[in-house]
């Protein structure tokens, strides 16, 4: 019956029908709206509430943003322009203050003819960071180094840097790009030299100071090579003691003598000229670079079997974590003179960096301790089974994994520390947020300007901190070794 039926059918469709359009309520924007915004009574109420919040914010602030003025000499001039353009009673943002005072927000009271020096130091920071942060991915390394080179050189040209130093920066960038193609690890040499170089660029003065500081480890290395055949213990002690003796006893004099023989110096800039983001970045970067190793040591000490070492670490960490950073900064500015030998008076920025470092290191130690605790016990036992001694086990097996686990915590500690650099305003330094804005408001032309400087500074802090947190997410993904 079926075949007769097949023969008698007058029409057989040989092409597929096009699929029917989904119902209008189940497709496209309507469906998205139904699912995401109006899926039930509660959700609908929430959506309306959200729209009201957005509407409130936009209606209150839009006209202010829309009436932005970028060219004016004073706040009253700004208000006059706004009143003329948009009518009496109109509000508007006066970004002209940023246009006129941007250099104070960025460089503080640094001599304007030397602005290129911090710029160059900041640009070279990317070269120093390259082997640590993005050495594995060649593409990203090229992009970051290339962009940093172009931006730095362009800014240095704009800031009238001398040709000699322009050439120096260009050579360093080019060299770094070429060297990193073949041997990315070689850039570590630059990373080690960078702290001294950066300090010299920022504060200036004689180049012999940093060079003589560098002589210390070289002397220690020579002592180690000489002593090693006789006794490895004596070699280690000598390698540790000789640099310290050199720094305490002779480095200063040697630098002065060398300077009197062959003068090699650039104009010195004192610490009270530092301010704005230059100060924040200086303190932030030094604090970050110093607090990570110190934090690792503290975390290992806290997990040590040695009772004394462990209790000292616990006392130090809990003490630092128990007091606010402001109190420690006041210790740096008021009490350090009591604790040091009479007559010593060293730089306030250095004191603040020390305190910020100790503060961040205590938090870092707790974060890393969490990472160490999260590592399965089998890893420690495997290291022991391989016959590795304590430091080899830590360096090759435990720390790489523990640090990887603690990346999010480490980066949020960094972010917290960078945000906390604004607190230096309370010990009389010119942070970009409070002191610098107060200084700008102190001039007659910008008296009474509040929102624009705060928004500008907040926006830059947001960019840096948000960038750091995104970088940590990228790093986590890149270092993930499981479930690939």
């Amino acid at each position: 019956m079926s075949d007769t039926h097949a023969q008698t059918v007058p029409f057989v469709r040989d092409t597929m029908l096009p699929p029917a359009e989904p119902p209008i309520r189940e497709a496209g924007a309507v469906r998205w709206l139904r699912e995401n915004l109006f899926s039930g009574p509660v959700n609908t109420v929430l959506t309306i509430l959200g729209i009201l919040i957005v509407w409130f914010l936009v209606s209150h602030f839009w006209d202010w943003f829309a009436h932005s003025i970028w060219n004016a000499g004073s706040l009253s001039e700004c208000r006059q322009i706004i009143a003329e353009t948009w009518g009496e009673g109109a509000r508007g943002a006066c970004w002209a203050v940023i246009r006129e005072r941007w250099n104070q927000y960025v460089y503080g009271f640094y001599p304007p003819e030397l602005y290129w020096r911090p710029t160059m130091a900041f640009g070279l920071l990317f070269v120093a960071l390259a082997p640590v942060l993005f050495s594995e991915a060649a593409q990203i390394r090229r992009i970051v180094l290339g962009l940093a080179a172009l931006m730095t050189l362009w800014l240095m040209v704009m800031l009238d840097a001398p040709a000699l130093w322009l050439a120096f920066a260009a050579v360093v960038f080019l060299g770094a790009l070429l060297v990193s193609e073949r041997h990315p690890a070689w850039l570590l040499v630059f990373s080690i030299l960078y702290p001294l170089m950066g300090v010299w660029f920022l504060w200036g003065g004689s180049a012999w100071g940093p060079i003589m500081v560098l002589v210390g480890p070289v002397l220690g290395w020579i002592a180690w090579r000489v002593m090693h055949p006789f006794s490895s213990l004596a070699a280690i002690v000598a390698a540790l003691v000789i640099p310290v003796l050199w720094w305490i006893g002779y480095a200063g004099e040697a630098a002065r003598d060398a300077e009197s023989i062959v003068s090699f110096s650039i104009p010195a800039v004192t610490s009270d000229r530092f301010g704005g983001f230059l100060l924040s970045v200086t303190i932030g970067v030094s604090g970050i670079a110093l607090s990570l190793p110190l934090g690792i040591v503290l975390a290992l000490a806290r997990r040590s079997d040695m009772f004394l070492v462990k209790s000292l670490a616990v006392i130090f960490i809990e003490f630092i974590r128990g007091v606010p950073l402001i109190a420690l900064l006041f210790v740096a500015s008021l009490l350090l003179n009591y604790f040091l030998p009479p007559g010593t008076n060293f730089d306030i920025i250095l004191r603040v960096i020390i305190m910020v470092t100790l503060f961040a290191a205590a938090y870092m130690a707790e974060v890393i301790r969490g990472g160490l605790a999260a590592l399965p016990k089998g890893q420690y036992e495997a290291a022991d089974a391989l016959g590795l001694d304590y430091w080899k086990a830590q360096r090759l097996i435990v720390l790489p994994q523990a640090l990887k686990i603690s990346i999010p915590g480490i980066v949020s500690t960094f972010i917290g520390m960078f945000k906390d650099t604004t607190l230096v305003t309370f010990v009389g330094l010119y942070d970009p947020l409070k002191s610098m804005s107060d200084a700008v408001r102190a001039s007659t032309s910008w008296k009474g300007i509040y929102w624009e400087p705060y928004i500008f500074v907040g926006f830059i802090f947001f960019l840096i901190c948000f960038g750091m947190s995104r970088y940590s997410m990228y790093l986590e993904r890149r270092l993930a070794r499981d479930h690939r």
């Binding site: 004394l308 009591y338 604790f339």
Partner: protein
């Protein structure tokens, strides 16, 4: 520890102090001990010499001399004739006030924002993401300054509320007035005042306050007893008696009775002359600091809450539903205990951070312990060493108390491993 005379053990040689693992840790600890002691001796010696050179001594007797400065907001009676010690106590109480208010409000904000960020509602989830990222990535000091500037620059002066057609109006049904000098809020008054308990040193507690606290604590204990009774009945008979109305009654009825007995009522602030009177005029420094601390810490707590909820796997609630538990009991018995275990340790450190961050009060002129003991007292007496050490000691004690208290709570909710 080790048997020195055991066969095969070589006799002790000095080099074993370094090369033998059994003795090396001892040697190392002795060296560390000597170095730490030397450092401590060096610091103390320097301090003693510096103090001698400045002709100062190290004593705390300045705490009992006349302070001579005013504090705008004092939880306990204080005049400029009181001692520096009393000023420090006032500062400590101010720190505690802003910290406790901040912790409570930040917890509420954080829970709401954290849950809302996980909401299916696209708009709400995005709004909360913007809130969390904006507050987490900008220094707290900026938020404090901005909120304070909103109060001092945008809010109207008190006399703008005057007249038949005022330019400004009060909010929340004429109960709160935001002015550029203070925030006027209602205060509580009683028609049947029972008097106060005098603790000496001009510190008094109203009997009504004590009664309320006693009733609340008692109610809480009775509620726990009801819970235990319900559990017992459930264990014996298999069905749990309905207790929510008993708990509700135990917690509210005694308080309502007390309110009726004392005639407790609210007195809204009223404009008299140039200022608001009748209510409580809260310094704008406190309000700004509290708001900024709340919003800032709330953003961090939101992330903690979100992580805690995400950490409870979906299978847990599905299993609870499969066992026939209703959504409310699933939340109480299955999800919350597991989420709290993840949430509480970082929450403790957020409370600690908030308490320490309250020292930013100096940016808005709120006299907390940093403002009194570490500020005006320090400047007037010139005793930096004593004042700062004392202040750090106070903060340290506060932190240790908070973390000890929260650790006890944590040990009660954490996973009971066997």
């Amino acid at each position: 520890m080790t048997d020195m005379s055991a066969p095969g053990n070589p006799t002790f040689r000095p080099s074993m102090l370094i090369y033998d693992r059994r003795y090396r840790s001892m040697t190392f600890q002795v060296i560390v001990f000597i170095l730490v002691m030397a450092l401590a001796w060096w610091l103390v010696n320097n301090t003693v010499r510096n103090l001698a050179a400045l002709g100062k001594d190290f004593n705390f007797s300045f705490l009992w001399s006349r302070a001579g400065y005013d504090i705008p907001q004092t939880p306990i009676p204080y005049t400029s004739d009181d001692t520096h010690f009393r000023a420090a106590v006032v500062g400590l109480l101010n720190t505690l006030i802003v910290s406790i208010l901040g912790c409570i409000a930040a917890t509420f904000v954080g829970i709401i924002a954290g849950v809302a960020r996980l909401s299916n509602n696209w708009l709400i989830a995005r709004l909360m993401t913007v809130y969390v990222e904006a507050f987490r990535n900008v220094p707290l000091l900026l938020w404090i300054l901005i909120v304070f500037a909103i109060f001092t620059e945008v809010m109207p002066p008190p006399n703008a509320f005057r007249g038949d057609d005022p330019t400004a109006s009060m909010i929340l049904f004429d109960h709160v007035a935001l002015t550029n000098r203070y925030t006027a809020i209602p205060t509580l008054a009683m028609t049947n005042d029972p008097g106060s308990l005098d603790l000496g040193a001009r510190i008094t507690f109203n009997w009504a306050t004590i009664a309320f606290v006693a009733v609340l604590i008692g109610g809480w204990f009775v509620r726990r007893m009801i819970g235990a009774w319900a559990q017992r009945v459930q264990d014996q008979t298999g069905s749990r008696p309905t207790t929510w109305w008993m708990s509700l009654a135990v917690m509210t009825v005694p308080s309502l009775l007390l309110i009726w007995y004392f005639g407790l009522h609210m007195v809204p602030p009223e404009l008299r002359g140039f200022n608001f009177t009748g209510g409580l005029n809260v310094q704008n420094g406190l309000v700004a600091l509290w708001l900024a601390l709340t919003l800032y810490t709330g953003a961090f707590i939101a992330e903690i809450v979100r992580a805690g909820i995400l950490a409870v796997s979906r299978g847990q609630s599905e299993a609870a539903f499969a066992l026939g538990l209703r959504p409310g009991r699933t939340m109480n018995l299955v999800i919350l205990p597991q989420a709290l275990r993840v949430i509480i340790p970082p929450l403790i450190s957020q409370y600690l951070n908030l308490t320490k961050n309250s020292s930013l009060a100096i940016a808005v002129g709120y006299m907390d312990i940093k403002g009194t003991l570490g500020g005006t007292t320090l400047n007037q007496t010139g005793r930096e060493l004593e004042a700062i050490l004392l202040m750090m000691g106070v903060y340290l004690t506060l932190s240790l108390i908070i973390s000890a208290g929260m650790n006890i709570f944590n040990s009660r909710v954490k996973l009971k491993e066997r």
